[in-house]
Amino acid sequence: MDILIPFIAILPFLGFAFTALVGRRLGKQAHWIPVLAVFGAWVIAMLASYLVLSGQAPLAEGSEDLHAYVVPIYEWIPAGAFTIEVGFFVDPLTACLLIVVTTIGLLVHIYSIGYMGHDPGYWRFFAYLNLFMFSMLLLVLADNWLVVFVAWELVGLCSYLLIGFWFKRPSAALASKKAFLVNRVGDVGFALGIMAIFASTLALGRPTLNIRLSIELLTTEGAVLLVPLTIIALLVFAGAMGKSAQFPLHVWLPDAMEGPTPVSALIHAATMVNAGVYLVARANQLFAHSLEAMSIVAGIGIFTAILAASIAFTQTDIKRVLAYSTLSQLGYMFAALGVGAFTAAIFHLMAHGFFKGLLFLGSGSVIHAVHDEQDMRNMGGLRQKIRITYVTMLIGSIAIAGIPPLAGFFSKDEILAEAFKLGFQWIWLIGLVVAIMTAFYMFRLVGLTFWGDFRGPNELWDKIHESPRIMTIPLILLAIPSIFLGLLLGLPFGDSRIHHWLAPVFDEGVHTIEELRHVEPPPFVFFGLDGFLIVVSVAAALAGIIAAWRLFGAELPGIRISPRPERVRQLSARLPFLYRASLNKWWFDDLNHLLFIVIGGRVAAFLWWFDRVVVDGTVNGIGALTVGAGRELRQVQTGRVQNYALGIAFGLIVMAGSYLILAGR
């Protein structure tokens, strides 16, 4: 197994290298190598995950219950006592991520064969996708901060390349730049965090960048740290905020929808944006020792959740609704991490990866069917034309809304219940409101897209057709975990399988938090508090769904409600401020425009002026002075012997004269 694990990352890289070099000549056959490479990675990853999660992997050094593969690869930077050793580390947390990344990655690759079939950049697309798979797998496998950072930047690069895949569109080019720049802001924090970790371990006398070792060193009782733990944790969290698009760095993700839909599904919903959640979960002990950092994580998470959910209400672009929904769900995950429910966060990460991947691929299928129309106002009634897409997207919507027994119910309920029981009732309350909102906007999406009457041009209606099988099969395959993942991992309540899996990774962190907070969560009681919390969260989801039905209609077996657009208009007219705020995304883009383009531009213009006039002026002035002095003084050098001789004579007279005057005194 140790030999095979590196191939999880190497295979996609080989696929990338091959496709990038000769892909152009392969034309429409370019997908074979990348898909096979990812399939190979999937097989190995599944095998490794199975062995790790079932406890057949060897025990990790210095631990009694953590089964993990530690695979050293090579010494990257040997520098005396300090070396950076590149190695792969597969523990249960990585295994969970591997399952999500490789499975969704594989299905998205297959889906792309159909979706990108007519694109002239076919081979380029698959090359980028494979590069992304390599980077993402490197990110979750690496056991070293520096390698994680390299992978972190690599996924950022892939995100940039794929958002701007249709670079001839100005909007796509702009969106890719925006994503790249906003991510850099977070990455600066992450880089500083890594430096702080290194400096602190150096000050402790054992310089290391190994993730497990460094965290262990920094959280040792009584260790005197160069940089306070809270600062380190917050710097690392800044990186997570950028990649996982948390407020205030959330502005790039909705614009990232300019990329092809499979990219949105893979990178901007199911995998890359989860990197931040993974990072915080990986460094859970670091955060656990700083309650301040935890509170900030929770606060930013839940704020992003409700902010994004409120924006999703009024968006008309089908992909943008899903993008804001992704933001909102990521906010949920951070809220869970912040309250200390690490397992619930990873559970939601996995469940969300599957059903959001499904929803995005479904939206791609819808867009494909209606010939590149993304505005839901020009859709409607598609249920009759694209059955498979409709059914799978409906499953995804029910899953994200949190209706039992689908995946989203288990994970979301666990987050809410844990928040409540760990003493964060306010997060529970906001989370509940977000749950209502989530159910509402998802069924608004379904209602506008699939139910009611078609609102686009009539001649288009006849041309609408279901996507080819190569696209519908991934949808069906993703619908399966969207239904069953929760049952599989979330049962039995209070002692679920995923808790068993992740306990060795998170137990220590959870204990630390409980000690620091002096709280002990009550044990699980189904006919008690927990049952009550479940009923409340299901009721919230149902309330949201029914509200959406009453406004946007429903056409389910046994339920028929016709949409009432006039009521929607009335409601939005009654709350003009909220409506405009939601429509304009709470003016964050305008705020950024004002801050960084208008005011920042002024400052930059002033600095430019200062540089030009004062700094360049000084430097150029010295040069000009020398040149001018040389030009003027060169008149003295006449080249005539007698002028020089006159100078000598004068000099002689002056010297002799002054001698005589001085001596005569």
Binding site: T638, G639, R640, V641, Q642, A645, A649
Partner: protein
Amino acid sequence: MSNSLDAYLILSALLFSIGTFGFLARRNAISMLMSIELMLNAVNLAIVAFAAFGAFGATQEGVSRGSVIALMVISVAAAEATVGLAIIIAIYRNRRTPLVDEYDAMRQ
């Protein structure tokens, strides 16, 4: 007056000034060389006069010392004149003129 050191020194200073003026004012290189000879001989006159009035010692030997220095200066002046003339001839061949204000190749 005729038997005092001052008279010799004034004559010597006059000769030196004439030489200096000639060196600075004449354009012809040969004349400038001749002016230099004049200046050197003014100096010689001053040395010999000093020696005769006992500046190097009031004995016959002191007078001889001054004469030796004067002879030395004359021989050096002869050598200098030779070299100077050779240079002037070389420049003359090149520039076809003895006038120093036209030797301006170093101006640019």
